[in-house]
Every structure is written in structure tokens, then in C-alpha cells.
């Protein structure tokens, strides 16, 4: 039984031509089926669970498009991007790459760090990129400094200070943490410069995982980095790229690990592996961890502590782009999810985009404001105690499966709120920016960097 449940545009994995694609429901899976006149037909698994795929639609928000855009050409998505008049959602998070060099050489690397081309902008070029962000994005502006590995730059503290002084509201740094574990002073300096939190790659709780993902056992250096973050009170989100056969079986362990590091660790962000940059072979269906697979593994491996239905789309990006849960760590060491599908979508999805963006900046301000500070109540076992815990002992678990050349849908690109800023003054959906063809050709990355 096979049924067409939707259509969109996608790309040919060989020539990157824009081609029509059908969404086909078959054996309770959703496939993207697309044909290139030159390179034939491709059938790619994008979801397991047809009902779930459809049901998520109720979380779709009313988009709030960007107020200003750099490109005026219509009807050519995704070929003339920047953003263009067809883009539906404004920017929530800007990725700013400050180098493509790295102190590691991972077999699987988004940025294809150290390869083919060199990108290492000067402070002036970085100033220009900040200015592009300020020109097009509304406050509060959240920038993630990324790479390559940003911490190989000795001038990272200056880069951060520059951004803050120009008016960027919130800066986080995406890092493998190696240098931060070795150089406490450097960590202090980027913190003092204004970095609010780290996006810290952490693929598993045993050394062999790192041998597979990074080519060497990095567990000890990772732990040293976390220890240093604890010392300087730098908040951390663990970023875990999930692949079957490598660390999918450890998602539960990563959650247990994260609990022990609360409140230094604020969240875990799981990224089901997408096929960008360097990867060894053409992906088969069984190489794919689609979003529902990941959520089911989390439920199974945490014995139901965090459940499939504890996750809801943020309703900011496309409903098939992400899922998020938020939990309070209770006195007995268990996590209590505050999110549940049972509550249904937010009542006011209309402004959800701004809410989600604000959430990053002042997540718990609302709660602090609503609680009276003078209270003679004992905190243990009381609601005030619960709120106190919620403010300091919480864990966000989120997931975003980036689209690669196989899975890409115009629909998801057009609703994207995570944009890479380019030196030539554009903002491009993160996935689209990184997508590359089978032989390594890209639509955007290598053209501008």
C-alpha cells in the first residue's frame, strides 16, 4: 500500500538541480520520492509513523516572515537564497563561522574542516558579518559562533566582545571543547568577553564512541572541559550527533550523564546524523535515524522517564524540523518532563516564533517574576521548592535532524529559522548552506567561503 500524502521540491543528489518530490506513505513510513531527468529516481526515508507525521501539523505556527531581506528574486527557491521574498520565517539563531580550521580531523564533519578551501576571516570581515546580522535580524539577536573550531582562534575573546559591543544580544560558542579543557584562562576570557553558553559536542559516554566519530578517544578531554565549565559557571548544551551503530544505543546514558552535570549542563541537543561534508558511503534507510526513531530510543533507554510524547515541536521551524522537551530534576534524581503532547499545541502559536527566540534569552524570567520572594515556607516538598528547582535544576532535551541532499524539502527550508551568515551579506538556512552533492559540490558553502 502506497499513498501520496504531499508534494514539495527537493534536490538531485548528483547535480543539485531543483526537482519535484512526492511524499509517499508506505508501510507506515514516509518517503521522499524524486526524479532527476538526468540521474534517475531516488527514494529516501524521511519519517517512521505516518499518523505521527500528519498529526504534528497541528503544531504548525503562523509564520512571521523576516522584515528585511537581502535578495529580491522570487520563485527560485532554493537557488537564489539570501533570504528571499519567498522565505516564510524570520531568523531565530544565526550561525557565524569564524574559521574552518580545526584541532581535530573527524571522519564525520559538517564543515569539512581543513579540506579543499580555507576560511579564516579577519576581524574586519567578521565585523561585516555582524553588521549583516544587525541589518536583517530583529532583537533579541542570538548568534552561535561556529566553525571549524572557533577556539583555535586566540582572538575569539575579541570577536565576542566586538559582537556584544555592536549590539548582538546573546552569543554562544559551538566547540569541541578540547582547548577549553586544557586552558582554563582562555575559557575565563571568552566568558568574560560575553559568551553566554557553549554548544559542546559530546557524542557519548565511552571512549570508543569518540574513536569512531573523531578518530581518537576524547572522553577524558571532554570531561576536563566540562570540569572547567563548572569552575567558571559556564552553561553548556551537550550536542550529540546520533548515528546507528555508533552511539544510538547511548542516548539514555547521555541523559543520565547530563543529569549529574546539572546545573552546568542545561540541555542536550541530539542531531541525528545527516550526510553533509565528509561521510563514507551513500546512506541506506537503515543508516538513517529519523526523528521518531530517536524519540523512541530515548523513551526506551530512559525506561519511560522521558517519553516519546514528552517531545513537542518548538513550533518555530517547520514541525518536522525539531522536537523539544523540558524537565525538572526532582529530589529523587528523576526527571519530570514539563512538556507533553497531551497538553496539545500552544494556544497562541501566532507569536510562538518570538517566544521561542526570547526563550533562549530569558528562559526563566517569567517564573522568577511570578514568585514572591518573601516566604517563610520550607522549600522541601513544597511548590515553592519545586519552582526553585525548576529555575536551577532543569534539563532541556531537543533534537533537530538537519536535512541533507537526500532528505531536503523546500517546505522545511522556507520555514527555517536557523541561518548561516555569509561574508557576502546573506543569511542562508543552515541546512541549505551545508548541503553538498555526492561528489562534494555545494550550492552555497564553497561559493562564498
Amino acid at each position: 500500500m502506497s499513498e501520496k500524502i504531499g508534494e514539495t521540491q527537493s534536490l538531485c543528489p548528483h547535480c543539485l538541480r531543483t526537482i519535484p518530490a512526492d511524499k509517499i506513505a508506505e508501510n507506515d513510513n514516509v518517503y521522499l520520492v524524486k526524479t532527476c531527468p538526468e540521474h534517475g529516481t531516488f527514494k529516501v526515508l524521511i519519517w517512521r509513523g505516518v499518523e505521527d507525521y500528519r498529526d504534528l501539523q497541528r503544531y504548525a505556527c503562523v509564520f512571521s516572515p523576516p522584515e528585511k531581506i537581502a535578495v529580491q528574486t522570487k520563485g527560485t527557491c532554493p537557488e537564489v537564497c539570501g533570504l528571499c521574498p519567498d522565505h516564510k520565517q524570520h531568523t531565530c539563531l544565526v550561525v557565524l563561522e569564524v574559521t574552518n580550521r580545526c584541532n581535530l580531523k573527524c571522519p564525520v564533519c559538517f564543515a569539512s574542516a581543513n579540506e579543499r578551501y580555507k576560511f579564516h576571516p579577519t576581524i574586519d570581515e567578521i565585523r561585516k558579518m555582524y553588521q549583516t546580522i544587525l541589518d536583517y535580524v530583529q532583537h533579541p539577536i542570538v548568534v552561535q559562533i561556529s566553525g571549524g573550531e572557533p577556539t583555535i582562534r586566540d582572538d575569539l575573546p575579541e570577536i565576542v566582545k566586538l559582537g556584544k559591543s555592536m549590539g548582538i544580544d546573546y552569543i554562544e560558542v559551538n566547540t569541541n571543547g578540547i582547548r577549553l579543557g586544557e586552558d582554563l584562562d582562555y575559557l575565563r576570557r571568552i566568558k568574560d568577553a560575553g559568551v553566554s553558553s557553549l554548544y559542546f559536542s559530546f557524542d557519548g559516554v565511552t571512549g570508543d564512541v569518540y574513536t569512531k566519530t573523531c578518530g581518537k578517544d576524547l572522553l577524558e578531554p571532554k570531561l576536563r572541559a566540562l570540569e572547567n565549565c563548572r569552575k567558571v559557571e559556564m552553561g553548556v548544551t551537550l550536542v550529540c550527533v546520533v548515528a546507528p551503530g555508533i552511539n544510538l544505543h547511548q542516548v539514555g546514558d547521555v541523559i543520565q550523564f547530563a543529569k549529574k552535570w546539572i546545573p552546568t549542563v542545561k540541555g542536550i541537543h541530539f542531531q541525528p546524523l545527516s550526510y553533509f561534508g565528509r561521510y563514507p558511503k551513500v546512506p541506506e534507510d537503515e543508516d538513517r535515524v529519523v526523528l521518531p526513531d530517536l524519540l523512541r530510543e530515548i523513551e526506551k533507554q530512559t525506561n519511560g522517564e522521558i517519553r516519546f510524547d514528552s517531545f513537542i515541536p518548538t513550533s518555530c521551524a517547520n514541525v518536522h524540523c525539531d522536537a523539544k522537551s523540558m524537565s525538572v530534576l526532582l529530589e529523587d534524581g528523576s526527571l519530570l518532563p514539563l512538556t507533553t503532547r497531551a497538553l496539545g499545541p500552544p494556544r497562541d502559536t501566532k507569536n510562538v516564533a518570538t517566544k521561542t527566540r526570547k526563550e533562549i534569552c530569558d528562559l526563566w524570567r517569567y517564573i522568577e517574576e511570578s514568585v514572591s520572594t518573601s516566604s517563610e515556607e520550607e522549600l522541601d516538598g513544597t511548590w515553592l521548592g519545586f519552582i526553585e528547582r525548576a529555575k536551577t535544576r532543569y534539563l532541556t532535551i531537543s533534537a533537530m535532524p538537519f536535512q541533507d541532499v537526500w532528505t531536503v524539502e523546500a517546505e522545511r527550508l522556507q520555514g527555517c529559522c536557523i541561518h548561516t551568515v555569509t561574508p557576502d551579506g546573506k543569511l542562508i538556512p543552515f541546512c541549505l548552506f551545508n548541503i553538498n552533492s555526492l561528489d562534494g559540490k555545494t550550492l552555497y558553502r564553497h561559493k562564498v567561503f
Partner: protein
């Protein structure tokens, strides 16, 4: 019975999302069942409407021809009040139904599977309990907000 809601109270209940019809329902039921707290002519009644508990704080004015209720305030919470944990000191309130002094105490309250204790006015005789306005509009609202907010 007539129910009078002064303008300043109307503004407050509007902000809290309480409908005038709900207030009427709470007062009517309390006046016929006599399930309410009383203190020097002041009344505190509650009624579950949908999945919220609506409280009305009101005075009864006995006029020449008919008596009417003057609403002092109204508030709500979704957290479910469960059993009384303890009863400490006197509260000044009387449980009208039992004609017994109600005490300040603690009640187990549940929300989204979380159970915690919270302060409340309790009647040890009938086991009923009432959350006061400060608690409902501050702490309990914050807890509910925690869950609500996370939906977005």
C-alpha cells in the same frame, strides 16, 4: 440574588480570564449549598468549572427587598487540592457547612502528576480546603505557568 461586581474588580477578573457568568455560578452554588468559608460577613467560595477551580471572595448585603452579593475579588487555579496534611493555627475563617473553625494548614496538591504540599485554609471536620488568593495568583500560577510556558 443580585451580584454586584465593582469596576476595579471587573478589571482584575478580566485580566485573570474569569467570566462574570463563572462568578455568578460560584456564588449561587455556595449560597444554596452553604459550602463556603465565612469571616465577619465576608465569604470565600469555590467551584470547579471545566478544569479550573474558581474562587470568589464576596460580601452579602442584605437590602430592604432582596439581598445581594458584592464581589471583592476572584481568582483561579488548576492545581488539584487533595487531602489535608496538617492543620496548624486558627485562621479566623469558619467553615459554614460544618459551622466549625477552619485552620491554616497544608494540603497535598497535584498538578501534571507532581504532588507537593502547599498552604491552605482547611476544615478538619469535612476535609475541605481552600487556597488563598496570594498562593493561587503567585506560587500556583507560577507552577501552572511552568507547564503552560513550555508548550510554546
Amino acid at each position: 440574588m443580585d451580584i454586584k461586581i465593582p469596576d476595579n474588580v471587573k478589571e482584575v477578573i478580566g485580566k485573570r480570564g474569569i467570566k462574570e457568568a463563572d462568578i455568578e455560578a460560584v456564588v449561587k452554588e455556595a449560597e444554596s449549598s452553604n459550602k463556603k468559608l465565612v469571616k465577619n460577613g465576608r465569604n470565600l467560595a469555590k467551584k470547579k468549572i471545566g478544569d479550573v477551580l474558581v474562587y470568589v471572595d464576596y460580601d452579602i448585603d442584605k437590602g430592604v427587598l432582596s439581598k445581594h452579593a458584592k464581589v471583592n475579588s476572584a481568582y483561579t487555579h488548576r492545581i488539584v487540592l487533595q487531602h489535608i496534611v496538617n492543620a496548624d493555627g486558627p485562621s479566623g475563617w469558619t467553615c459554614a457547612h460544618c459551622n466549625e473553625a477552619a485552620a491554616f494548614g497544608h494540603v497535598q496538591m497535584e498538578y501534571m502528576t507532581v504532588k507537593r504540599n502547599g498552604p491552605a485554609v482547611v476544615c478538619a471536620k469535612c476535609g475541605d480546603s481552600w487556597a488563598e488568593e496570594y498562593l493561587a495568583t503567585k506560587t500556583l500560577a507560577a507552577v501552572e505557568g511552568l507547564f503552560e510556558k513550555k508548550r510554546a
